[in-house]
């Protein structure tokens, strides 16, 4: 009488009083066999599909599943259902009636789902498909940015002719959030950058005894480049990202669709006020950043390089004049538009998941800072060609 017990992969953490699942085969006649079930047929005991089926040979014949599992959960039932299925394919007529009713039911339930189980293997995209998807995605994104600029011009232009229809309340709220609350961080950072510039300039100039030229250097660098650029980068990181996160979340919670359904164009309500607010606030923040940068420079000039405050602020208007200030400020509304539009566009393009909001926020900040610096370089070239 061949007896072939089978042991499954044992789990490391067998609970108290539990035993390994097993199947024992008894061939009782020419075409009759009994498969006896014992042990715990539970997930904790089945870290691999199942104990290998005892070799029952090929049918036809009748096979009775007998005994009972100590415990049976759906993982155990699935493992047993597969055994039964395999035996049936080998030509056996498998009878489950000897099992306790609850266990028979569960095995039958899972066995009825087996065909779908084997057929369904969710496929991953191939590398080529992913490359294609990404390429098309980039093209769509570039196109979307152009479309966004187009929408700004067409809608914004129409609203500019009837400015009372612009949502000024939103504009003011955005100005407060993006402008007023950014004053502290922009002031502090500009002050520090002004100090650093003065240090570096002073160290070189001192060796020529030309300490007083610190004023020229700090003044021009701050007004033309540092002030506008620093402000734009901080605003992109602080405000542009929050625009993306806000709009992206509103997309997912269907708030944008709700606005549309109520008959409020999301562009008028959400995007245009942000663009206007940034265009107003960026030049003002830049002026403040300039001021703090110059003050920061003066502190170092006075304390380390014998350029008194009186001398510093006396010389500043003489040597620097108004031109660098204006050249610096001219750039800022352009920066503002780029930051606001990229922030909003990335937000509006979010779809689906919380993950997408995070990803869009990162993309928005990177793109905005990238474009701001590229534009700044282009402005430098342009001003140089114009002779400034």
């Amino acid at each position: 009488m061949p007896v072939s017990p089978a042991k499954p992969n044992m789990n490391d953490e067998p609970g108290e009083g539990s035993s390994a699942p097993s199947l024992r085969l008894e061939v009782t006649g020419d075409s009759r066999a009994t498969l006896t079930l014992a042990g715990d047929w539970t997930l904790a005991r089945l870290s691999a599909p199942a104990p290998p089926a005892p070799e029952a040979g090929r049918g036809p014949g009748t096979l009775r599943l007998a005994g009972a599992a100590n415990a049976l959960d759906s993982a155990g039932a699935l493992a047993l259902a597969r055994q039964v299925d395999r035996l049936e394919q080998a030509g056996w007529d498998v009878g489950l009636t000897a099992l306790p009713e609850a266990q028979r039911k569960l095995i039958t339930l899972l066995k009825s789902r087996l065909p779908d189980l084997s057929e369904a293997a969710p496929t991953r995209e191939s590398a080529l498909a992913r490359l294609g998807r990404r390429t098309v995605g980039k093209l769509i994104e570039a196109n979307a940015f152009l479309a966004f600029i187009g929408e700004l011009v067409s809608r914004g232009g129409r609203l500019a002719l009837s400015p009372w229809r612009i949502r000024w309340r939103e504009v003011v709220a955005e100005i407060e959030a993006a402008g007023l609350r950014a004053v502290g961080i922009i002031g502090l950072l500009s002050f520090l950058v002004g100090m650093v510039t003065a240090y570096q300039a002073g160290a070189v100039l001192q060796s020529y005894g030309a300490n007083v030229l610190i004023v020229d250097l700090v003044g021009i660098i701050t007004l033309r480049e540092m002030g506008p650029l620093l402000t734009a980068i901080i605003v992109a990181g602080r405000t542009g990202s929050s625009y993306t996160a806000q709009l992206g979340t509103m997309r997912i919670t269907e708030e944008i669709d709700a606005l549309r359904a109520i008959g409020v164009p999301p562009f008028d309500m959400l995007i245009l006020p942000k663009v206007i607010a940034l265009m107003v606030i960026m030049p003002l923040l830049t002026v403040f950043a300039n001021l703090m940068g110059i003050v920061g420079g003066s502190v170092i000039a006075a304390s380390r390089f014998d350029v008194s405050y009186a001398m510093y602020f006396d010389r500043l208007p003489e040597v620097v004049g108004l031109t660098p200030l204006i050249l610096g400020l001219v750039k800022t509304p352009i920066f503002a538009i780029v930051i606001a539009l990229i922030g909003c566009m990335q937000g509006m393009r979010v779809s689906g998941s919380a993950l997408a909001v995070g990803r869009a926020t990162t993309v928005a900040v990177v793109q905005a800072i990238f474009l701001v610096i590229v534009l700044d370089a282009l402005f430098s070239v342009l001003f140089n060609l114009l002779g400034y």
Binding site: L43, S47, L355
Partner: protein, 265 residues
């Protein structure tokens, strides 16, 4: 309310849940009998979800004790609590599927975290849960955004079932489903309860779930379980809250259908 004290996976005793000075539960007791479906009903704001969150160990009650599988949760160590969590399945009201993962990956996550199952067997086990929850096989590879409301509920059920929980906590499983889908969902929960030996508690507003899909109904009112019994028993009670809840026209129809053949009036 007579039997089943011998084997109750969950016991709530003298629970108090407050938000600031506002208390939703005070002196609440509830026992869930094993292998039975308990419906948790009550008006809006009666604290159904809060009670389920307390039961699911997502909220510590301000007072009172939660006992799961004979363990006092409030005194249990972190490891013990983690073990308990693996024996709970929770279906959140909105599904709360992880949007970054496909349906199958959603179901695989708890399996991967709590068991040593890996590879094809892991996929197959997860897939069997997806199919048991009544989803078509091809939905397994889809992301939650691509699913309809009913499918989200089923996918969430599949994830809740992933570890063969002994206690299944369902927060409004049939809300937002059409009546046919809701009835199917009730039947599914019943089938799984019977075949997997689950104990289920479901917060619900669905009359069909209350009358047909539950073994006992716990009515929340006056900050506690005001009444506990079968729907038919509760419908005969005379507390004003229960009368208001069960005397609606639609509820009366169910009561009539449910009543044993009685002389016509």
């Amino acid at each position: 309310m007579t039997d089943a004290h011998t084997d109750a996976p969950a016991r709530l005793h003298d629970i108090r849940n407050c938000f600031g000075k506002e208390c939703v539960h005070e002196g609440l007791d509830l026992v869930l009998p094993a292998r039975k479906i308990t419906a948790l009903v009550g008006g809006s704001g009666s604290g159904k979800t809060v009670l389920l969150r307390t039961l699911a160990m997502l909220r510590e009650p301000n007072a009172g004790s939660v006992e799961l599988f004979g363990v006092d949760v409030g005194r249990a160590s972190a490891t013990r609590r983690l073990e308990l969590r693996a024996r709970l399945g929770v279906l959140f009201q909105g599904g709360a599927l992880f949007t970054a993962l496909t349906v199958l990956e959603n179901v695989m996550l708890p399996l991967r975290e709590h068991t040593r199952v890996r590879g094809e067997w892991l996929k197959e086990l997860a897939m069997s849960k997806v199919l048991l929850a009544g989803l078509p096989a091809d939905s397994a590879g889809k992301y939650p955004v691509a699913l309809s409301g009913g499918m989200v509920k089923r996918a969430a059920l599949a994830r809740a079932l992933a570890l063969d929980p002994a206690l299944l906590i369902l927060d409004e499983p049939t809300s937002g489903l059409d009546p046919i889908a809701a009835a199917n969902f009730d039947a599914l929960v019943r089938e799984l309860t019977d075949s997997l030996g689950l104990t289920v508690i479901q917060a619900t507003h669905d009359l069909h779930s209350i009358w047909r899909g539950s073994d006992q109904v716990a009515f929340l009112g006056r900050k506690r379980v005001l009444a506990l019994g079968t729907a038919a028993e509760l419908a005969r009670r005379d507390e004003p809250e229960l009368v208001a809840y069960f005397q609606g026209a639609r509820s009366a129809e169910y009561a009539k259908l449910n009543a044993s053949p009685a002389p016509a009036d």
